[in-house]
């Protein structure tokens, strides 16, 4: 399975994502730069975390308007899987590939800790290796992860099973509405989440709870 990682100035989790995808898929991902207008034929495109363009204006706002994101949108429309982690999630909502917005944490603090996540929908390409309702661990590190959507959008997300990850057991670190940690688009091929599953894929990380996400998406045996 082939993968690609989107690179933008100010991202800082790009090497983590590249390392995780290389280890899990067995081959290094292609990298695409912000000004690239073409993305090679791949099965999964990952937008890593960080602080693209210094979080100027709004987190992910400038990155979402770069040429590479038009190419990501075209690939997504063709059914290619896209995962945005942390700043990548913020970029996906700013680009309109996912609904809602990510706002400042209600604590106003940057949170860097481990949280618990409930698999709210195990019937997606990204979560099919988890059990419904399973609780996994994942690191988070962000200042603006407070998911917000208007009542109508929220009802649609909940009704259609588009809420994929939820903060569990009182570990919501940011005030996110309905404890939402990650959502998927209607077509089921674009996933955004604030936690960092790529940082929990092997024993050296202290656990491998995040590994099944990539194995599921890439159809790789555990």
């Amino acid at each position: 399975m082939k993968t690609a990682v989107v690179l933008l100035p100010g991202l800082n989790r790009d090497r983590d994502m590249i390392a995780a995808l290389t280890k899990i898929s067995g081959q290094a991902p292609a990298t695409v730069w912000q000004t690239d207008t073409e993305i090679p034929d791949v099965d999964l495109i990952a937008i890593p975390g960080g602080f693209s363009f210094g979080d100027y204006l709004r987190c992910g706002a400038i990155a979402a308007r770069m040429p590479v994101m038009r190419a990501v949108a075209e690939k997504a429309a063709k059914g290619v899987m896209v995962i945005g982690v942390c700043n990548g999630f913020q970029i996906l909502v700013e680009a309109g590939l996912l609904p809602g917005a990510l706002m400042r944490n209600t604590s106003l603090k940057f949170v860097c800790r481990q949280v618990k996540l409930e698999i709210a929908n195990a019937n997606t390409m990204f979560t099919r290796r988890y059990q419904p309702g399973q609780i996994i661990r994942s690191p988070v590190a962000h200042h603006d992860g407070n998911y917000f959507a208007d009542a109508e959008t929220l009802a649609r997300l909940e009704g259609e099973g588009q809420v994929v990850f939820r903060y569990a057991e009182g570990t919501n670190p940011n005030g996110s509405i309905n404890d939402i940690a990650g959502i998927i688009n209607e077509q089921g091929n674009v996933l955004g989440l604030m936690p960092h599953p790529e940082n929990l894929i092997e024993a050296a990380h202290g656990g491998s709870d995040g590994r099944a996400l990539f194995e599921g998406a890439l159809g790789i045996a555990a």
């Binding site: 709004r58 308007r65 400042r104 106003l108 407070n146 917000f148 959507a149 208007d150 005030g175």
Partner: protein, 80 residues
């Protein structure tokens, strides 16, 4: 040249933790009777344009495409 001021504010019903913190800080400074504080953004934009109607349309397009996130924010445009 036309100068404009764009004001971006959070929509009603959207929580504003930063505004809340500012509200508390103002109370802490002894300013009694401070009600709700909402934080927003101001952009002063210069346009090489003489047609005011065209400038206003362009500025609104800028807000819709970049300057405001209309999921959570409203904007207003004032030509000066």
């Amino acid at each position: 040249m036309i100068k404009a001021r764009i004001t971006v504010t959070l929509k009603n019903g959207v929580l504003d933790p930063q505004g809340k913190a500012i509200e508390h800080a103002l109370s802490g400074l002894g300013f009694d009777g401070v009600g709700a504080v909402r934080q927003g953004k101001v952009f002063d934009v210069e346009l090489a344009e003489s047609d005011r109607a065209k400038a206003e349309a362009d500025l609104k397009a800028m807000c819709d495409k970049l300057l405001a996130n209309t999921v959570i924010e409203n904007y207003s445009v004032t030509l000066t």
